[in-house]
């Protein structure tokens, strides 16, 4: 086929997609960007300034230490997101890989895996509600369990107290999200030739060494996927917080997406809402770009 005709053909096939991307992805992004710079007196960075320096607990991204009079939390939505990532990512990686590794040759493991994956299947609003139930002092499995153990101080409704609300949601998100990690790792382990582990066994490696020196490095690809996807999920987390605590009590579980929503739906301040959205998007781009560089592009080049 002549080169010119081929180019034209490629363009014809690409055109519908490009039109869709343009109208439903690029235009809204650019629109949000423009709105974020629009203030009551012309264009400027005013929205960003006020969003970042906001101090009220239900909207603040970061609350400086000297303002927090009582015991924290709240620390501010951005800090909460970062704490979320810092706890959630390692726990999910560890649980997912360990469970996948332990369950790999067990009879009936697919049933366990299916149950674990249920957390991914149920709508997140339902998940959020379930988390609230789970940590309820009368109904919840965790407070009841702790009471039986004699730990009375933690046998309350976790989501009602600023000290425990955030950790309750993070633990709940572990429960919802481990199924994803487990599934990715199980697939990665499945594709790993058995001989890798057997060779290490013959060579004299202990189970501990096999796990950390052989299995963990060999499933690095899966780890990258799990880490990045979990980070992105944690950064844009909204639904489970919204239905379980609405960011409360006293802003103790506030997150970026909720701040954005509060500006948008409660304060009807679209400029600040857009500014928050842009900040959130920029932060999410860091793991996103890293992921594309590390995983998406190299494999595309191989082809």
């Amino acid at each position: 086929m002549p080169r010119r005709r081929r180019t034209r053909l490629v363009l014809i096939f690409l055109l519908p997609e490009l039109a869709l991307i343009l109208s439903f992805v690029l235009v809204p992004i650019i629109g949000t960007f423009i709105i974020s710079f629009k203030t009551s007196h012309g264009y400027g960075v005013g929205n960003y300034y006020s969003v970042i320096t906001e101090r009220s607990p239900d909207r603040a991204l970061v609350i400086p230490e000297n303002i927090i009079k009582a015991q924290p939390p709240p620390w501010g939505a951005l800090v909460h997101n970062i704490i979320w990532v810092a706890i959630h990512v390692p726990v999910v990686v560890f649980l997912g890989l360990t469970l996948a590794y332990l369950l790999r040759d067990v009879v009936g493991s697919s049933i366990v895996k299916s149950i674990m994956f249920l957390g991914m299947v149920i709508p997140m609003v339902v998940g959020g509600l379930l988390i609230r139930f789970m940590f309820d002092s009368d109904l919840g499995v965790i407070p009841v369990f702790l009471r039986e153990l004699g730990i009375k101080s933690l046998a309350h409704t976790w989501t009602n107290y600023p000290q425990t609300a955030l950790i309750a949601l993070i633990l709940g998100s572990v429960w919802l999200w481990t199924g994803f990690s487990l599934t990715v790792y199980a697939a990665a382990l499945e594709s790993l030739p058995k001989s890798y582990i057997e060779a290490a066994r013959v060579d004299g490696a202990s189970d501990f060494q096999i796990f950390f020196k052989v299995v963990f490095p060999l499933v690095k690809h899966a780890t990258i996927i799990v880490v990045v996807m979990t980070m992105l999920w944690d950064l844009k987390i909204f639904d489970i917080v919204f239905v379980s605590t609405r960011g409360g009590p006293g802003g103790a579980t506030n997150v970026m997406a909720l701040v954005m929503y509060n500006y948008f739906a409660r304060a009807l301040d679209y400029g600040k809402s857009a500014a928050t959205a842009v900040i959130l998007a920029l932060i999410s781009l860091i793991p996103g770009i890293w992921f594309i560089r590390r995983v998406v592009r190299p494999s595309a080049e191989k082809r």
Binding site: P193, S195, Y196, E198, A199, A200, R201, V202, D203, G204, A205, S206, Q209, K213, V214, P217, L218, K220
Partner: protein, 369 residues
């Protein structure tokens, strides 16, 4: 210095008996090949010696020490896997060093000592310039050598190899065959080698154990296996093309035993008549290599019609019907030097080397005498 001894090994997977009462002794410094078709239990046997599988019955001894219940790491064996099992995240140097590195503390070795030993082994296998590469950057043959180096570095008692050459292309396989054999002899390490490739087994082994359906059918030197098969399975598994098997009947005439086969009848030599009676079903085995082909009639020769001619370069394989007169076809293959031209439909006369034929009991498949 190591001998390996298997005593009455049985291994079942569910209802399938993978290994069925195997007894085998591997001598010190011997190159023993476990040969058989896929599913015959040879790999399972090897894995039992390695400790990757545990037998349901029987004992495994290495140097008179009962290792049946020991973990692989406590047996002092090294294994080369079919896919080499090189870790893609480690360099060649670290791959070879791996068995020592993970036991560095127990062995009391420093990193420098380990890397020095890696270099020694790498030199032996001529891969020292590859040490800084990752396995993904190596060719199949190079990966093979790295896997061998990793199996050598610990100076194990026994080398176990599971079809290590089967992932290489044909030419490289021929080359590695000789090299592996040379290396094994140089180091003097007891080696148990699993393969389904009879040519590989014949060319490398000191002794071959032919396996079928979980049992060892015959153990012997390559010569034994080739010239004196103890079972019709061995006869038909070894050789390219394998031994021709012709179904015959013994006939008692005038106090003499005759072998009556399609297209021929022949007196049975006195030496083995004591094992035979009249009216027995016998399988006559004739190697394609041990038949002379004549274009002219010859007394005692078998009349045969050429069906297909397969040229092989210096040799020809003739597919012949040795009972063209009767309605049925009895087809045998004959290998002959490509000195004359043959064409399909032509009648030729065959004279087998009767001193080299084998007789098998048709019922049990076992060799007679």
């Amino acid at each position: 210095m190591a001998r390996v001894f298997l005593e009455n090994i049985v291994k079942r997977f569910g209802k399938v008996v993978a290994v069925d009462h195997i007894n085998l002794e591997v001598h010190d410094k011997e190159f023993l090949v476990l040969l058989g078709p896929s599913g015959c239990g040879k790999t399972t046997t090897l894995r039992i010696i390695a400790g990757l599988e545990f037998p349901d019955e029987g004992r495994v001894y290495i140097d008179d020490k009962d290792v049946t219940d020991l973990e692989p790491k406590d047996r002092d064996v090294a294994m080369v896997f079919q896919n080499y099992a090189l870790y893609p995240h480690l360099t060649v140097r670290d791959n070879i060093a791996f068995p020592l590195m993970i036991r560095r503390k127990q062995l009391g070795l420093t990193r420098e000592e380990i890397y020095r030993r890696v270099l020694d082994v790498a030199k032996l296998l001529r891969i020292e310039e590859l040490l800084d590469r990752k396995p993904g950057q190596l060719s199949g043959g190079q990966q093979q050598r790295v896997a061998l180096a990793r199996a050598l570095i610990r100076r194990p008692k026994v080398w176990l190899m599971d079809e290590p050459l089967s992932n290489l292309d044909a030419l490289l396989r021929l080359q590695m065959r000789a090299e592996l054999k040379r290396l094994q002899r140089e180091i003097g390490i007891t080696t148990i080698y699993v393969t389904h490739d009879q040519a590989e087994a014949m060319s490398m082994a000191d002794r071959i154990a032919v396996m079928n359906h979980g049992r060892i059918v015959q153990v012997g030197t390559p010569d034994d296996i080739y010239f004196r098969p103890r079972h019709v399975f061995v006869a038909t598994f070894i050789g390219a093309p394998p031994m021709n098997i012709i179904r015959c009947i013994t006939v008692l005439k005038n106090d003499k035993l005759y072998l009556s086969c399609p297209g021929m009848e022949r007196e049975i030599p006195r030496g083995i008549t004591k094992y035979l009676r009249g009216d027995m079903e016998i399988l006559l085995g004739i190697r394609p290599e041990f038949v002379d082909v004549y274009k002219e009639p010859k007394p005692g020769a078998i009349r045969a019609k050429i069906l297909v001619v397969e040229p092989q370069g210096s040799e020809l394989i003739l597919n012949l019907n040795i009972s063209p007169e009767s309605g049925e076809e009895t087809i045998i293959k004959v290998k002959t030097r490509a000195l004359r031209r043959y064409s399909p439909g032509e009648i030729v006369y065959l004279e087998p080397d009767w001193t080299r034929v084998s007789l098998f009991d048709a019922k049990t498949g076992k060799a007679i005498a």
